[in-house]
Every structure is written in C-alpha cells, then in structure tokens.
C-alpha cells in the first residue's frame, strides 16, 4: 500500500518532498476513513434498532437522517468537560489510549482485497490479540481515576468480564490459526479457498462470536455500563469529546469484530464471479447486520451469570476444541 501510494505521488513531487507527502497521505487517509466508518455504523445501528422497535429513528438531519451522528459528534466537540476530584493524568490518558488501540486493530486488518493493507506486518492476528488485551487495564484505570462509586464498580466489572472472555477468544482464534498454520490473515483467507472454516469449526465460530461480543462490551453483554444499574458505568464522568471517543471506539470494535468473523470463518474475499473486494464487503455487511441485532432483541445478563458461564463452559469447551483440532491435525 505504501509503495503504491509512493509510486503515484512521486510523479508529482521531487525527491525529499514525495516521501513526506506520502507519509502525510498515509496518515490522514486511514484516519479520516476510520473516523467516518463508526459514524456511518452508528447511524445504521440507530436506524436498524428503531425499525426493530417499530419507530423510524433519525429522520430530519440530512436524507434519512444520515447526518444525525455527524451532528452528535459536532455537539460533543463543542461540549464543555467538567470533572470533580479526578486523577487528571489517567483520566485524560484512557480515552486516547483506548481509541488508539481500537483504531489500530482496523489499521492492521486488510481492507477487503489481497494486499490492501494500511499497515502490513506478518503476524497481524497476534498483534490484534495484544491490542484487545490492553482494554481491561484501561477500563480499570478509567474506573479508578474518576473517583466515583459507579465508575469503580463498572471498571471492576469490565475488567472481570473482558479478562474472562479474552482467554476464550484467544484460544478460539488459536484453533483457527492452527488449522491454517499461520497467524497472517492473508494466509488464513488463502487456506479457505475451497471450504470455509465455519464448516470445519462451527462450535468455534459460535464461541468466537459470543466471546467477541463480551470483549467489545456490546449489549446484551454491556454489563460494565449497565444503564439501569450504573448509569454509564466506567464512562460516568466523561463528557464532551472524550465520551465521543468512547462511542467511536465502540463502533470501530464492532466493525473489527465483523471483519474478523468474515476473515476467520467465512472465507474472506474468496468467492466466484464477483471481484474479491465486492465479495468481502458483501459478507462484512451481512455479518455486521447480524451482529448488530442482539442488542435490540435480548435482555442484559447479570455479571455473575456471565462470569460463571465464561469460566465453567466457554473456557473448558474452547480448550477441548483446541485439543480436538490438534488431534485431527496430527492424525
């Protein structure tokens, strides 16, 4: 990707300038792309949820209310931030770090065609683990820094929930990586050329979706920010742009989860007739619409139910699954 952009831009700029311009373009284009996508997904989510509840959702702002979330973001930018007795450093650090971590996930994933990377590293799936493993610490830090009883309860809940389900998520991804023999998403997609992994590993797929849901804290697993119990959980003291960053990072994680689902289990960009890019985006949009549904359909679980289910069922099942995959590969 970098070399392609460099090749195009070096025709217009001379020796030192072309590198700098390429770098700026390479920084700005993904950033705008990554910032616009959650706004669009947020609109789709609101509209879709409204139709499920037989409402209309945003209607007046722009055609079909498509600019609704743009208005929300503009308002959040112009909003004042007030705090009382917070730990300034960690309070300001958490939104930036959490948003950066979730944006980096999208930067590391290929964008729908072989070689269409923003940043290409050989072990990108492994690096995505690491970025996901950062979030419980940050949530705990946010909950503690806000100096509020709801936020500290929410922080502990979030850390518990994510630590429980991250293990399952990592082990399920590991069984996919074992089957394909690589941690690179391109190789995993290439090895699904004839048959999708969802046929080989249906239980792994289900576990991946449930664990992924718990890790990105989406309803019905939004226990850390359970509105009726904790108001906004660990986000309670955040206002203005920082709260907007949390909203953006939520939707970015949602997007990353549906992309990963398509890459790991539904054959990525493989498909007949249509070009690779089109196949990938069709699959991702279908996956995302299915993954957006449970929020509006299912009620929230309790924290003890979720954690018990995680440790008693999900983790042993995922380990068993890993062993079975290993045994099949050996035989």
């Amino acid at each position: 990707m970098f070399s392609y952009v460099y090749g195009v831009l070096s025709r217009f700029f001379s020796a030192p300038a072309d590198l700098i311009v390429t770098l700026i373009v390479m920084l700005l284009v993904p950033l705008t792309l990554v910032a616009i996508i959650p706004v669009i997904i947020g609109w789709v989510d609101r509209k879709y949820g409204a139709r499920i509840q037989s409402r209309w959702g945003p209607t007046y702002v722009g055609p079909f209310g498509i600019l609704q979330n743009v208005a929300d973001v503009i308002k959040l930018i112009g909003k004042r931030v007030i705090t009382t007795n917070v730990d300034r450093l960690s309070y300001s650090f958490v939104p930036i770090a959490l948003t950066a971590a979730s944006f980096l996930i999208v930067v590391l994933i290929p964008w729908g065609a072989p070689g269409l990377y923003i940043l290409d590293i050989p072990y990108n799936l492994l690096f995505i683990y690491v970025l996901m493993a950062v979030s419980p610490l940050l949530i705990l830090l946010a909950g503690w820094s806000e100096n509020n009883k709801y936020s500290i309860i929410g922080g502990f809940r979030g850390a518990t929930q994510i630590a429980t389900y991250e293990l399952t998520l990592i082990i399920t991804i590991l069984s996919v990586a074992m089957l394909s023999g690589s941690y690179n998403i391109s190789d995993i997609v290439a090895s699904q050329k004839h048959l999708w992994y969802v046929v080989y590993l249906p239980i792994t797929f289900l576990m991946f979706v449930v664990a992924g849901y718990a890790v990105i804290e989406r309803d019905p697993f939004d226990i850390p920010e359970a509105t009726q119990e904790l108001l906004a959980g660990w986000k309670i003291e955040y206002s203005g742009l920082r709260y907007g960053m949390f909203l953006l990072s939520d939707y970015i994680k949602m997007f990353a989860l549906s992309m990963l689902t398509v890459y790991l289990f539904f054959g990525g960009w493989n498909g007949p007739l249509l070009p690779a890019f089109a196949w990938f985006w069709i699959k991702t949009i279908i996956a995302m619409m299915i993954l957006l549904t449970p929020r509006w359909v299912y009620p929230r679980l309790r924290i003890d139910q979720l954690v018990k289910f995680g440790w008693n069922w999900m983790l042993p099942l995922s380990i068993l699954n890993l062993l079975v995959v290993g045994a099949v590969l050996l035989v």
Binding site: W56, V61, I74, I77, G78, R80, V81, T227, Y238
Partner: protein, 179 residues
Amino acid sequence: MNLESEEKNAADEFSYPGLGDVIFMKAEKFIETVLNWGRGWSLWPVTFGTSCCAIEMMTFGATKVDADRMGVLFVGDSPRQSDLILVSGTITKKMARRLINVYEQMPSPKYVVAVGACNISGGLYHDSYNTIAGIDRIMQVDVHIPGCPPRPEQFQDAVKVLRELIQKNKIERYDKRTS
C-alpha cells in the same frame, strides 16, 4: 483648539478592522454556526420525572411520537453526557435542591425545558406551602410546555422551538449557575 484636538483623538482611536481581524471574526462566526447546528440537532435529555408529566415524557420517547427522529436520544446516561433537562412533574421544596444538584452536574451548553403547569406557575399547587410555584424561581428556563399533563406532541413542538432558538443563537444565560 481643545475641541479640535479631541476630535483628532477620536479619529485616531477609531480604525477599521484589518484583514486578519475580519478573517478571525468570520471564522468564529462560522464555527459558532456549525456548533449550534450540531447542538440543535442532538439534544440528549436528562429525564427528571417526578410525577404525572413523566408518563407523557416516556411516551415522547416511545414508538408513536418518536423522539429519536429529531435527535433526542434517551441514552439514560449520566448528566455529564446530557444537554437538556426535561423537568417534568411537581418540584417540591425538598426536591428543588436535588434538581439544582443534577442541573449543576451538566456541562454547558445546557438547556432547560419546564414541563406542565406545575413547573410554569405551580398549577394545582400554586398556593401550597411545599411546592416551588414555577421553576423559573430557581433556575433559568428556555422552553415551557403548558398542559396538565401536556400531550407527547407538545414535547415534540418544544424540542423544535428549542432547536430554532439554539440555531439562531438566541439562548443567553443570565443564570450564574453554569458549569
């Protein structure tokens, strides 16, 4: 002589704004317009329901009169993330402090909608020893909704009026109690 020098001084003090000032003023106006557009279309309310008006407020968010169409999203989060407080229901003297407490926790810009007769003049309880007869005695109200209780459509109209006020930049705070 004296008069002449004074005129001269006055002429010296007055000067047309330079190009930099004009650009700055225009940019400021433009940013304000954009921000006000966003504020008008994205009013997330704190639902301060104390009595019967709260039931109508719930209907305002529900299916038939859909608040989400105008960007009024009932997020149900803390006052820190809200812009609008819908004071719906009788405010007793004991509740007044709690109301002010919630109001002070909202970051500015923030707007107040007084719902129902009790919050306009006291309504049924205008002569009572224990109610605030109209919440504009204790805080600045931007929009009043009459009715006892008002219909959900009136909430919709109030939000429309408030949005027009915000986008025309007509909301001024004389209330010192701003955060």
